[in-house]
C-alpha cells in the first residue's frame, strides 16, 4: 500500500487509541475523582486558588458561570492589547521588531483570546519574544476556557434537577493545569529533540554553500507549537505555521502535531460518556462526527494526491500530487489530511498553504469550518454539536408526534429559540460579511487591488474563506489575501468576538435551563438519542442547516473554479 496513505491511517488510528483513555482521564478531572497526577497537581491547584482568592467549592449557576467567563476574558483582551501595542520597547525583543498598529493589535488580541489565532501578521517580523510568550498564555487559557465551559454543560446534562453546576474557576484551573499543561510538555519536548528550536537568541546569520548571506529566525518555538496544536489554537510561531521546517521538522513531528490537533476534541466526547455514564451516547456522537469527517477528508486526500490538472496538461510528472505550497517531507496525502483535521476542529494551523490546494479540497476545508462540530474546537466543538442535537430532538419529536426530550428533560419554546438563533448566527456572520467585502471590492477594484492574490472565483474564495475561518474561530486562511488592513482587521475581529461568545452563551443557557427542569424517567414513549437512527437524524440536521446554507456561496467560489479546471 502507498506509504503516504499508510501514514494517514496511522495518524487517525493513533489519535483514537489515545483519545479514549484521555477521555476517561478528563472525565475524572471534571468529576474531581482521584488520578495518578494528583500528587503534583493538588498542591499546585491549591496554590492557584490561594493566591487568587478563589473558593473552588463554591457552586455557581449557569449565569454566574458565564459572568465569570466573560469578565476574565475581557481582562485578557485588555492585557493583550497593551502588550502588542508596546512590545517594541518592552524586554525580550532581540530582533527589534516593532509594536503593532491599533487595528492589528485589536484583531490579534481578539483572535488569541477567542481561541481563533487568525494571524494578520507574520511571527518572524511581527512579534517580539515577549509577544510570542503572551500569545502562548492565551493559547493555554483560551483552550482552558473552552474545556471548562464544556464541563459546565456536561454537569448540566446530568439527571438531577439543580441549578448548581460546579465552580467555573475550578474547571478552568483543572483543565489548564491537569489536561493542557502535561500534554503540552510532552509534545514540546518531542519537538525540541527533533529539531524545533527552543532558545531566546535572536536571528542567526548563515552564509550558504554558494556564498549568499541569509538569516535564520529562531525563538522558543517548541514550547509554543505544542500548545498551539493541542488547544485547537493554531497560531504559528512562524508565518507559514507548521509548513516551516523549524516548526515541523520531519514526518515524525508531523505525526505528533497532527495527532495533537484531534486528541482533546475526540477525548471530550468520551469524557462526556464517562461523566454522564452514557457511553452509548458518546459512541453515537463519535460515529456521526467520524462519518462527517470522513466525507470531507477522503475526497480531499484524493484530489491533492491526483495533482493540479492544469499542471498535468504541461506534460510533467505529478506523482507527488499537487505540490504548490506543500512540503516534500509531508507529501500531499498528509497535507490534505492535516487541512481537514485543522478545519473541522477550529484549530487553524496548517502544514501546507490552503490557498494553493485544488478547488474541492479548499471547499471541504471551508465546509469543515462551516459545520464546525465534526469533533470541533476543544470544548466549544461539543457545544456546537449540542445545538444540533437539540434541533434534531425537536424535529424528530415533531415527526413522530412525541414530546421532544433530551436526556430526560423536556425541550420547549425558549430553548428552541436560543438554539435556532445560535444555529443561524454562523451562516449569518459569514455570508453577510463576505457579501460586504465582495461589494466593496466590486465597487472599487483598483483601490482594493491589494486584497486578492488570485483573480476570478478563487479571489472570491479567499474572502469567503477568511470570514468562514473568523466565524468558526479557526484561524487558518487563504493566505494570499492581503488582510493586514483596517477593514479586514476590524471586520474579522468583530466576527470572531460574536462567533466565540454567543455560541458559548447559547448552549450554556439551554443546558442551564434544562438542568433546572424536572427529570422525566425514560419510558416506552421516549425518543432514544443514543441510536443509529437518531445519529442519522442529527447528520441530516447538520447537512440541512449548516451545509445547504452555504451552497450558493460555495458555488461562486470553489465549485466554479473546479469546473474551470477539470
Amino acid at each position: 500500500m502507498n506509504t503516504e496513505i499508510l501514514g494517514v491511517v496511522l495518524m487517525y488510528g493513533l489519535v483514537v487509541a489515545l483519545a479514549i483513555p484521555l477521555g476517561r482521564y478528563i472525565g475524572k478531572v471534571f468529576s474531581n475523582e482521584k488520578t495518578w497526577l494528583d500528587k503534583v497537581f493538588n498542591p499546585l491547584d491549591k496554590l492557584f486558588y490561594k493566591l487568587s482568592g478563589i473558593d473552588p467549592s463554591k457552586e455557581m449557576n449557569w449565569k454566574q458561570h458565564l459572568l465569570a467567563l466573560l469578565t476574565i476574558n475581557m481582562f485578557w483582551f485588555l492585557i493583550c492589547m497593551f502588550v502588542l501595542m508596546d512590545m517594541g520597547w518592552l524586554p525580550l525583543n532581540p530582533d527589534g521588531n516593532p509594536s503593532m498598529s491599533p487595528d492589528l493589535a485589536f484583531n490579534t488580541s481578539v483572535s488569541f483570546v477567542t481561541n481563533t489565532n487568525l494571524q494578520h501578521y507574520s511571527g518572524e517580523t511581527g512579534l517580539s519574544y515577549l509577544g510570542q510568550l503572551i500569545l502562548m498564555l492565551w493559547q493555554f487559557i483560551s483552550a482552558g476556557t473552552g474545556i471548562a465551559i464544556c464541563a459546565v454543560v456536561f454537569m448540566a446534562m446530568k439527571e438531577k434537577t439543580t441549578d448548581k453546576l460546579g465552580n467555573f474557576y475550578n474547571f478552568f484551573v483543572r483543565s489548564s493545569t491537569r489536561i493542557l499543561f502535561p500534554l503540552a510538555s510532552v509534545v514540546a519536548l518531542i519537538l525540541a529533540f527533533n529539531g524545533s528550536p527552543m532558545t531566546f537568541e535572536g536571528k542567526d546569520t548563515m552564509i550558504t554553500m554558494q556564498g549568499d548571506t541569509v538569516q535564520v529566525s529562531r525563538g522558543p518555538v517548541a514550547a509554543f507549537v505544542a500548545i498551539k496544536q493541542l488547544g485547537t489554537n493554531g497560531g504559528g510561531f512562524y508565518g507559514p505555521n507548521s509548513a516551516h521546517p523549524l516548526e515541523n521538522p520531519d514526518y515524525l513531528t508531523n505525526i505528533v502535531e497532527t495527532v495533537s490537533i484531534f486528541l482533546i476534541p475526540i477525548a471530550m466526547i468520551f469524557a462526556m460518556g464517562f461523566v454522564l455514564k452514557r457511553k452509548k451516547l458518546a459512541w453515537t456522537i463519535f460515529g456521526v462526527m467520524t462519518i462527517g469527517f470522513l466525507c470531507l477528508v477522503v475526497p480531499s486526500v484524493y484530489y491533492e494526491m491526483n495533482g493540479n490538472p492544469a499542471i498535468s496538461k504541461m506534460g510533467i510528472m505529478q506523482n507527488m500530487g499537487s505540490m504548490e505550497g506543500k512540503e516534500v517531507r509531508f507529501g500531499s496525502a498528509a497535507s490534505a489530511y492535516w487541512a481537514i483535521n485543522t478545519t473541522v476542529t477550529s484549530n487553524g494551523s496548517v502544514n501546507a498553504m490552503h490557498d494553493s490546494m485544488t478547488p474541492l479540497t479548499g471547499m471541504f476545508a471551508m465546509l469543515g469550518m462551516m459545520i464546525n462540530s465534526f469533533y470541533g474546537g476543544v470544548g466549544v466543538g461539543f457545544l456546537n454539536f449540542y445545538i444540533f442535537i437539540i434541533l434534531a430532538v425537536f424535529i424528530s419529536g415533531l415527526m413522530v408526534g412525541r414530546t421532544p426530550e433530551f436526556l430526560g428533560k423536556k425541550i420547549e419554546a425558549k430553548e428552541m429559540k436560543i438554539a435556532m438563533i445560535i444555529a443561524l448566527l454562523h451562516p449569518f456572520l459569514i455570508l453577510v460579511s463576505t457579501a460586504l467585502s465582495s461589494h466593496l471590492y466590486a465597487q472599487n477594484p483598483t483601490e482594493y487591488a491589494g486584497w486578492l492574490a488570485n483573480p476570478g472565483n478563487h479571489g472570491f474564495s479567499e474572502m469567503l474563506y477568511e470570514f468562514t475561518s473568523s466565524s468558526a474561530n479557526n484561524g487558518s486562511g487563504f493566505e494570499g489575501l492581503g488582510d493586514n488592513t483596517p477593514f479586514w482587521n476590524i471586520a474579522c475581529g468583530l466576527v470572531m468576538l460574536l462567533a466565540r461568545f454567543l455560541p458559548i452563551i447559547g448552549p450554556v443557557a439551554i443546558a442551564g435551563i434544562l438542568a433546572s427542569k424536572k427529570y422525566i424517567p425514560e419510558s416506552a414513549g421516549t425518543l432514544k438519542t443514543d441510536t443509529g437512527t437518531f445519529g442519522l437524524m442529527v447528520f441530516a440536521v447538520i447537512f440541512i442547516v449548516a451545509a445547504l446554507a452555504f451552497l450558493p456561496a460555495l458555488t461562486l467560489g470553489p465549485i466554479a473554479e473546479y469546473f474551470s479546471l477539470y
Partner: protein
C-alpha cells in the same frame, strides 16, 4: 461582575507566571540536552555552519537545485506563493520554470520532470526534494563535473531517506547534505 474582577486579575497573573514563565523555563531547560542545545540542527562543513532544515539556493548548475522559493530562501522571513491552482499568472510561472529546466538539462524529456521541482513549497524553505527530482538532475551534474553518472546515481541512492520505519510518509532527499557529499566526491 465586581466579585469576579479581582479573582480574574489575580488568576490571570498566576497563569502568566505559570504558563508563560515556568512552562517555558522547564522546556527551555530540558531542551539544552537536545541537539545543538535546542537551537536547531546544524551541519558544519569547511568551517561554515549550515542549518540542516533550512533550504539553500543552489542556482549553480553544478549543484542539485532546491525547490523554488517564494521567499528567496531567506529564513529571516518565510512564506508560500499562495497562488491558486487556476491562476493564469501562476501557471505561466510554472511553465517558465519547466522551460528553464529544459534549457539547463538537455537530453531530459519533459515527462521526467517531477512537479515538486517546479512548484514553490509552503514555507519557501523546504530542505528536501523527491527522489525523482534528484534523479532528473544527475545527467546535468555528471556532465558539468565530469564524473560518471553511475557515481552520482550512487550518491543519490545513499542520500535517499526512506519513509518513517519504511512504512509511513514520503521518500525524500535533503539537498544540502547531498550537495555537501557531491563536493566531497572527487
Amino acid at each position: 461582575m465586581k466579585e469576579h474582577i479581582f479573582p480574574a486579575v489575580k488568576l490571570t497573573l498566576i497563569c502568566l507566571i505559570f504558563f508563560s514563565g515556568i512552562y517555558t523555563a522547564v522546556i527551555l531547560g530540558i531542551a539544552q540536552f537536545a541537539p545543538n542545545n535546542g537551537k536547531g540542527e546544524i551541519i558544519t562543513h569547511n568551517g561554515k555552519i549550515f542549518y540542516a532544515n533550512i533550504a539553500q539556493n543552489f542556482s549553480d548548475d553544478k549543484y542539485f537545485s532546491s525547490r523554488p522559493s517564494a521567499c528567496g530562501y531567506n529564513a529571516a522571513g518565510s512564506g508560500g506563493s499562495n497562488k491558486g491552482p487556476s491562476n493564469p499568472d501562476y501557471l505561466a510561472e510554472v511553465q517558465g520554470r519547466i522551460d528553464t529546466f529544459m534549457v539547463h538539462n538537455p537530453g531530459i524529456d519533459k515527462s521526467q520532470i517531477p512537479s515538486d521541482l517546479v512548484t514553490a513549497s509552503g514555507a519557501g524553505l523546504d530542505p528536501d526534494i523527491s527522489v525523482q527530482s534528484a534523479n532528473v538532475q544527475v545527467k546535468r551534474i555528471a556532465r558539468i563535473r565530469g564524473i560518471a553518472e553511475g557515481n552520482i546515481q550512487q550518491l543519490v541512492l545513499s542520500n535517499t531517506e526512506k519513509p518513517l520505519l519504511g512504512l509511513f510518509g514520503t521518500e525524500k532527499i535533503n539537498v544540502l547534505k547531498l550537495n555537501i557529499e557531491l563536493d566531497n566526491l572527487k
